[in-house]
């Protein structure tokens, strides 16, 4: 079987050229973990069992339809009921099923064993993005779809990874057992990367567990698999699997960057800095609902450009961003964004698109409010 697998994936590489992942576009991927390959084997086994049964059953059926046509003078026989035949056609499927259940059970046992993980990643589903948190490492970030709106509406040519590209991919090491802890902030989502054969619902109030050990470095793509509202189709998953030392280096850099940002909380920020940072945060977090031009899509998502309530009341504005508005789609961002990002995005939306209030909200003010 292993040999066959190697052969098939080899063939895939030959024709597909690039990664094994989407070697063929019409079957389940073999994937890049031991378990995904095992599941692929189960899938092909049950598929061929069905094909064989199908050939036998439909063979007899079409033979009968051809042979026993009245137009060819067939006279109907009068037999019915035969205990031996009935026992056989009940017992044989039963045995086939038992034969199938044994390997399926063994695979399931492995899938459920998330013990001895070397790295824990918390995955949180939100309408409509993913948040990744490397537990115990102080590294966390949001991952949003980065396909431009113009490609979706067809004003721009669609790229190779249309709808399957993000601003910040999840980065994982190969050859290490990584445990995922999955939850959601709002509705149920489902985190799915076909090449890992990992699909797990993220459920508000629950923490699910799953795991992966990736065998090959590469970029792997997936999508949210559970209907989660308007932009369900637009919350892709991208995983960048790196060599172990490369990953360690990446993690150190991210940690340093996070520390630098934490240091930045205490200093006074210039307007330009806040605006630059704020535009970036707005683009990745806010624009999916309130639109890049601040126009929103009322009534569900109010416009921010020229919004008098927002322009008049900076405290209200900060409160909405920090704590959300209950009963609406506006979530609380107090734990999703750090103080610098919060200050920057508020400053940005108070000064962009002609709002021009001149307010520069400082990270220190936000820290005070968060306490």
């Amino acid at each position: 079987m292993r040999k066959m697998l190697a052969l098939m994936t080899g063939g895939g590489t030959l024709f597909g050229g690039a990664s094994l992942a989407h070697a063929n576009g019409w079957n389940m991927p073999v994937g890049v973990t031991d378990l995904s390959a095992e599941i692929y084997t189960l899938h092909m086994t049950i598929f061929w069992i069905c094909v064989v049964i199908g050939i036998v059953v439909f063979g007899v059926m079409f033979y009968s339809l051809f042979k026993f046509r009245r137009s060819k003078g067939a006279k109907s026989a009068h037999f019915h009921e035969n205990t031996t035949v009935e026992v056989i056609w009940t017992a044989v499927p039963l045995l086939i099923l038992v034969g199938m259940a044994v390997p399926a059970t063994a695979t399931l046992q492995k899938m459920y064993d998330a013990s001895d993980a070397e790295l824990d990643v918390m995955i949180t589903g939100q309408q409509w993005r993913w948040r990744y948190e490397y537990l115990g490492e102080d590294v966390a970030f949001n991952s949003n779809m980065s396909t431009p709106r113009a490609q979706i509406t067809g004003e721009e040519e669609r790229g190779e990874h249309y709808l399957l590209e993000v601003d910040e991919p999840l980065v994982l090491p190969i050859n290490r057992k990584v445990r995922f802890l999955l939850t959601a902030d709002d509705v149920i989502h489902s985190w799915w990367v076909p090449d890992f054969a990992v699909k797990q619902d993220t459920i508000p109030g629950f923490i699910n567990e799953n795991w992966v050990r990736i065998n090959e470095p590469g970029i792997y793509r997936g999508q949210c698999a559970e209907l989660c509202g308007m932009d369900h189709g637009f919350m892709p998953i991208v995983v960048h699997a790196m060599e172990e030392d490369e990953f360690d280096q990446w993690l150190v850099e991210r940690k340093e960057a996070a520390e630098a940002e934490a240091m930045g909380v205490d200093r006074e920020w210039e307007m330009d800095e806040l605006m630059e940072r704020g535009e970036q945060v707005y683009g990745s977090i806010c624009a999916s609902c309130h639109q890049a031009d601040g126009g929103g899509s009322p009534p569900a998502f109010p416009g921010l450009a020229g919004n008098q309530e927002l322009i008049d009341d900076v405290d209200w504005h900060i409160d909405v961003v920090l704590n959300g508005v209950s009963g609406t789609a506006m979530p609380a961002f107090r734990s999703n964004l750090n103080p610098v990002e919060l200050a920057a995005v508020v400053t940005y939306s108070r000064n962009a698109w002609g709002n021009d209030t001149g307010d520069a909200v400082q990270p220190a003010e936000i820290v005070e409010l968060l306490e």
Partner: protein, 548 residues
């Protein structure tokens, strides 16, 4: 056994003569009958109510079909081309709800109304006024449901499975109306089921034992018990939603100590038997048609009854196979995987029985037979993908992809829907007194078969390749499959206009059908004239059990 007849059915026809076969000739009916719309509003006659159900379900089939075509039109090419994602979600949701609750289920109830009394030699349903009420609840329920599309915030947009909290905390304001409409439809189903059970158990012709009943009657008896068992569960779960939305409870809201997974357990405890509710009567229909056109008795009548009962019992033990990725404990996953795999055994028995019935028969290919044969082949393909989905580890890959969409459309469209069409072609001569047009019927059949396979077969591939369900736009590698699916869907959809044409033509005229319209047909309905008079079997027929 003294069937209670509704007042205006009482045996007072002065000039009524009953023949030995139980046929009744109504030469002069002196009863003042309400005319026009009132006749249909007030009717308690099982045949008229059966026709109402069937016409209603046909209309709803087209409405649900239009929603499906809106979805397929949007998915014809990548990109958001015609509708926005919000409306797309409303369309997928409404398509599912309308097809399940307003098209397939009422169609089977309509067939049951028409045919069960005729097949067991009863003069009418046991509870005729209740029968009228069950039907007229449906237009109310679904007018209400369709009207939500026009309400502020739009109609239901959370999928036909309406998982909480998307369908509670995050739902549009119209959700309360959605809940009310499902309640009304549920009451209708329960009342209909009670009526069918009462009819079958109490009103069989003297001498007809349970094991003498035609299989359509058997499968409907078991289906009716399933309905009575699970519709209250649906009513319970939507009431809990209602409370969460309007009265501040937290059954499904984690923030208030509730459990979103509880919703799924309750929903699928209803939902899995529900899918068998939509397929068991189909088994009954096919088990009537294949022996007729093979001119040979069904190979294993008793084992068909056993298999139907086994499927019904097992249907209560498999619900969590819809939930393999919600994070069930390993033992639960194993339990539901094993029970689900077991369902393949009785289902296989049924297919084997149909095929052995064909073996050494004397087969002709009239339109009902064509649909029944297509049912056997295509339903079995849906069964195979079901078996694949039962393998829990593989289901982690299949779950919530187009592979699942392909699977359940194979069992529901060329499964349930084809069986309904087969039944209509099979019994139209009895209903109208005319044969449906063979030529048009064959056009309808072949275009439908091609359309259905073009639509749903590529979905296996797009699902395996990684396309999730319920997305309004997709990555470029899925474009070819979706293009074919959309073309197939439009072909299938527009071919159904031929079906309507056939029915209208058949009602208005055509080749006259004798009482026994098909020479291989055996059951009691073929002993009354074609078209069946309004009142039949007012004197119980003289039933001679065939050695089943």
């Amino acid at each position: 056994m003294a069937p209670k007849l509704p007042p205006h059915h009482s045996l007072q026809h002065s000039s009524t003569t009953a023949t030995a076969g139980g046929q009744v000739h109504d030469d002069h009916d002196h009863h003042p009958q309400p005319r026009g719309i009132m006749r249909w509003l007030l009717t308690t006659n099982h045949k008229e109510i059966g026709s109402l159900y069937l016409i209603f379900s046909l209309i709803m089939f087209f409405i649900g079909g239009i929603f499906a075509l809106v979805v397929r039109a949007e998915l014809f090419q990548p990109g958001l081309n015609l509708i926005n994602p919000e409306f797309f979600n409303q369309m997928t949701t409404m398509h599912g709800l309308i097809m399940v609750f307003a098209a397939v289920m009422p169609a089977f109830t309509g067939l049951a109304n028409w045919m069960i009394p005729l097949q067991i030699g009863a003069p009418d349903m046991a509870l005729p006024r209740l029968n009228n009420f069950s039907f007229w609840l449906l237009p109310v329920a679904f007018t209400l449901l369709l009207s939500t599309l026009l309400m502020p915030g739009g109609g239901p947009n959370f999928g036909w499975t309406f998982y909480a909290p998307l369908s509670t905390t995050y739902a549009p304001p119209s959700t309360t109306f959605f809940i009310l409409s499902l309640h009304i439809a549920g009451v209708s189903s329960i009342l209909g089921a009670i009526n069918i059970v009462a009819t079958i158990l109490n009103m069989r012709a003297p001498g007809m034992r349970m094991m003498d009943m035609p299989l359509f009657v058997w499968t409907w008896l078991i289906t009716a018990f399933l309905l009575i068992a699970v519709m209250p569960v649906l009513a319970g779960v939507i009431t809990m939603m209602l409370m969460d939305i309007n009265f501040g409870t937290s059954f499904f809201d984690a923030a208030g100590g509730g459990d979103p997974v509880l919703f799924q357990h309750l929903f699928w405890f209803f939902g899995h038997p529900e899918v068998y509710i939509m397929i068991l009567p189909a088994f009954g229909i096919v088990s009537a048609i294949i022996p007729t056109f093979a001119r040979k008795r069904l190979f294993g009548y008793a084992s068909m009854v056993y298999a139907t009962a086994s499927i019904a019992v097992l249907s209560f033990l498999v619900w969590a196979h819809h939930m393999f990725v919600v994070g069930l404990p390993l033992a639960a996953t194993l339990f539901f995987m094993y029970t689900t795999m077991l369902i393949a055994v009785p289902t296989g028995v049924k297919v084997f029985n149909w095929i052995t019935t064909l073996f050494r028969g004397s087969i002709t290919f009239e339109v009902p037979m064509l649909f029944a044969l297509a049912f056997v082949v295509l339903f079995t393909i849906g069964g195979f993908s079901g078996l694949m989905l039962a393998i829990a580890p593989a289901d982690f890959q299949y779950h919530d992809t187009y592979f699942v969409v392909a699977h359940f459309h194979y069992v529901l469209v060329p499964g349930a829907v084809f069986s309904i069409m087969a039944a209509v072609y099979y019994w139209l001569p009895k209903w109208t007194g005319h044969y449906p047009s063979e030529i048009l019927g064959k056009w309808h059949f072949w275009l439908s078969v091609i359309g259905v396979n073009l639509t749903f077969f590529p979905m296996h591939f797009s699902g395996l390749a990684g396309m999730p369900r319920r997305i309004p736009d997709y990555a470029l590698q899925f474009a070819d499959f979706n293009l074919v699916s959309s073309l197939g869907a439009f072909l299938f959809g527009f071919s159904q206009l031929i079906f309507v044409w056939v029915i209208i033509k058949c009602v208005r005229g055509g080749v006259k059908a004798p009482a026994k319209a098909w020479d291989g047909a055996e059951d009691l309905e073929w002993s009354v004239p074609s078209p069946a008079p309004l009142h039949t079997f007012e004197t119980p027929p003289d039933f001679k059990p065939v050695q089943h």
